[in-house]
C-alpha cells in the first residue's frame, strides 16, 4: 500500500476528501490553518467547494446549512475559533445534523498562545454551548490515526446524525509521519431522507429546533438523551498499553498519550508495573476500559495539558476506587517523559518501592 509522508493537518484534510467531504467552510487560525489551505487547493478537483467564511460563527452556520441539505461537510479551527462555533454546534446538535469539526487545540484562555494544549476538554466533552447535548469527540495520537479517525468521524456523524469533533493539537497537526489510506469497508448508513433538498416528489422537510410547547421540548430532550446513551454504549474506544499486569495506570490522550507511553516504557525498565489507558473517544469516555481494569489498579495518573480536566472523568469512571493524581503542564508547555515518571513516583512512592 502506498505510503505518504504527510503533516498531521494535511492528513486530516486528505482523509476528509477521501471520506467524501465535498464542502468545507473555514476561517484561518493557527495552528489549524493548513487544513483550510489544503481544502481550498484540493476540493475543486473533486467538484467540491471551499468557502472562506467571514468568521467561525458563519463557518459553522454554513456547515449547518450544508449538512441540512444532506452533504458531507467539515470545518476546522483552533480554540478561539471553536469558542465562536459553540452557538452553531448547539443548534447542529439540536437539529441532529452530521457535521465534522476539527479542533487543533491551542493554549487558552483568551487569545492564549499557539502551543499545544488540552484545555478545551471540558468545552468539547461537556457540551460547550447551551443546552444538554454531546459531541462525539475523537482524540487521535498519531498521524495515521488522524487519517483513520477523520474517516470514521464522517460515518459516525451520518450514523448518529450528530456533530463529531476531532481533537488534536499543534504538535500532532505539524508532525510528519508516514500514512496509508486504507480501503475502508463501507458502513451501512441511514438514508438522509430528512434533508432539505427541495420537496419535489415527497412531503416537505423542515429542520428546526424551536418549540414553545414544553411538552415537545421535553420529548425532544428525552429522544436526544436516549441517542446519547446508545452512543455511549456502542462507541467507546480506547487503547490499553502494558495493562495486563499493571498495578498502576497512566491515563492520557493525544499528544500526552505519546509522552505517557514513553514514560511507561521507562518505568517498565525500572520494573515498575504501570500501564497506559489511552482514551480514543473523549466522549463517550471509555468507562468500560476502566471497569475492565478496576480490580487490579491501585492508583491512576492523569497526564494532561490543562489544569486538570479529564481527571474528573477518570474519577467518575473509576468511582474513586483508587487515588487519581494529576501530572500536567499548561499554557503551551509539554512535559518530558522523565517529568511524567518523576511525578508518578512522587504521587505513588509505593509503586517504585515495590520494585
Amino acid at each position: 500500500m502506498k505510503k505518504y509522508l504527510l503533516k498531521g493537518n494535511e492528513a486530516i484534510a486528505e482523509a476528509a476528501v477521501r471520506a467524501g467531504c465535498r464542502l468545507f467552510f473555514g476561517y484561518p487560525i493557527t495552528p489549524s490553518t493548513e487544513i483550510i489551505e489544503y481544502m481550498a487547493k484540493h476540493l475543486p478537483a473533486v467538484n467540491g467547494t471551499f468557502v472562506q467564511a467571514e468568521s467561525e460563527v458563519s463557518a459553522i452556520n454554513m456547515c449547518f446549512g450544508a449538512a441540512g441539505a444532506g452533504v458531507r461537510v467539515m470545518t476546522a479551527s483552533s480554540s478561539p475559533g471553536i469558542s465562536l462555533m459553540q452557538e452553531g454546534l448547539s443548534y447542529i446538535a439540536a437539529n441532529e445534523l452530521p457535521v465534522v469539526v476539527v479542533n487543533i487545540v491551542r493554549a487558552g484562555p483568551g487569545l492564549g498562545g499557539l502551543g499545544p494544549s488540552q484545555a478545551d476538554y471540558f468545552q468539547a466533552t461537556k457540551g460547550g454551548g447551551h443546552g444538554d447535548y454531546r459531541l462525539i469527540v475523537l482524540a487521535p495520537s498519531t498521524v495515521q490515526e488522524l487519517v483513520n479517525l477523520t474517516q470514521d468521524a464522517f460515518d459516525l456523524a451520518d450514523l448518529y446524525r450528530n456533530p463529531v469533533m476531532i481533537m488534536a493539537d499543534g504538535i500532532l497537526g505539524q508532525m510528519m509521519e508516514p500514512v496509508v489510506f486504507q480501503e475502508r469497508e463501507t458502513r451501512q448508513l441511514p438514508a438522509k431522507d430528512w434533508a432539505t433538498t427541495g420537496a419535489e416528489g415527497r412531503p416537505r422537510n423542515t429542520i428546526t429546533s424551536y418549540s414553545l410547547q414544553n411538552e415537545i421540548g421535553e420529548a425532544n430532550c428525552l429522544r436526544w438523551e436516549a441517542k446519547y446513551r446508545s452512543i455511549a454504549a456502542a462507541e467507546q474506544r480506547w487503547e490499553q498499553y502494558m495493562t495486563d499486569d499493571a498495578a498502576y495506570l497512566m491515563v492520557a490522550y493525544g499528544t500526552t498519550a505519546r509522552i505517557a507511553k514513553a514514560a511507561v516504557q521507562m518505568a517498565r525498565k525500572e520494573g515498575i508495573k504501570v500501564g497506559l489507558l489511552r482514551p480514543i473517544t473523549l466522549w463517550p469516555f471509555p468507562v468500560d476500559g476502566f471497569k475492565s481494569l478496576q480490580g487490579q489498579i491501585k492508583g491512576y495518573l492523569s497526564v494532561e495539558l490543562s489544569a486538570g480536566q479529564m481527571i474528573e472523568d477518570v474519577r467518575l469512571a473509576t468511582n474513586c476506587s483508587a487515588p487519581v493524581h494529576l501530572c500536567n503542564r499548561q499554557g503551551g508547555m509539554v512535559p518530558a517523559p522523565e517529568e511524567v515518571l518523576e511525578r508518578f513516583k512522587e504521587v505513588f512512592p509505593a509503586a517504585a518501592a515495590a520494585v
Partner: protein, 247 residues
Amino acid sequence: MKEVFKRTGALTDAPFHYCPGCTHGIIHRLVAENLEELNLLGKAIGVTPVGCAGFCQQYFNIDMQGAAHGRAPAVATGIKRALPDRFVFTYQGDGDLASIGIAEVMHAAARGENITTIFVNNAIYGMTGGQMAPTTLPGQKTSTSPFGREPSVAGYPLDMPKIIAQIQGAAYVASVSVDSPKNVLQAKKAIRQAFEYQLAGRGFTFVSVLSTCPTNWGMSPVKALEWLRENMMKNYTLGVLKDAAAQ
C-alpha cells in the same frame, strides 16, 4: 363569477400566529405567491430567522431550515453551495439581520451569494416584546428607549438596503412597503424580480420590506399603517436601489 383572488397553495393551511394586523402575513403571502408563480415549490429551500417569523416553517409549503438568530445568510450559503441548482432564500427581521446578523448578510452580499434575502423592517424587536432595533427611528419610543431613541446615546438607524446596494456582489436591491394595496403590488413585483435574478444566477438579491408591529408600536393595525407611511417611509430610502442587469 370568476375567482380572482384566492389563497396560494404555496402557503400551508396553518393559520398565522402573528398579532392581528401584523404585516408579516402580507409579506408571507407575497413570498409564497411568487414561489408558486415561478413554479419553485419543489426546488425552494427557505431559511427562517429568530424573531416573530421564527415559526414560519409552518406556513410555507416547501423545505425549510430554521437558523440561529442572525445566521440565516450563512445557513443559506451552506445550502446553496451544497445544492447550487436549488432556489434558496432567507426571511429575516431587522433585529435578526441588521443587528446580530449584520456580518452574515454583508458577507453573503459581498460573495455575491446566489440567494435572496427578504428583510422585514418593523423598526422594533417584535418577538421579545418591543425593544429598540438598529432600525428604530430617532425619537421612537421602545421598551429600551423609553424616552425615545436619543442618537447621542443610542446612535442612528441603519438603512440596510442603501448599505447593501453599495456592495458589488449585490445584483438587485429594492426597498418597498406594504402600507397600501398599490405598494403591496409593488412589493410583490420587487420580490419577483429578486427571485428571477436568482434563477438567472445573477448573485445576491435583497428586498427590504417596511412592515408594521401594531402590538409593540402600541397602535391599532390601521393606525400602524399610517405611522409606517408617515414615519418609516419618510426615513428610509424606497425604490429599486440597485439593478445590476439594468446598469
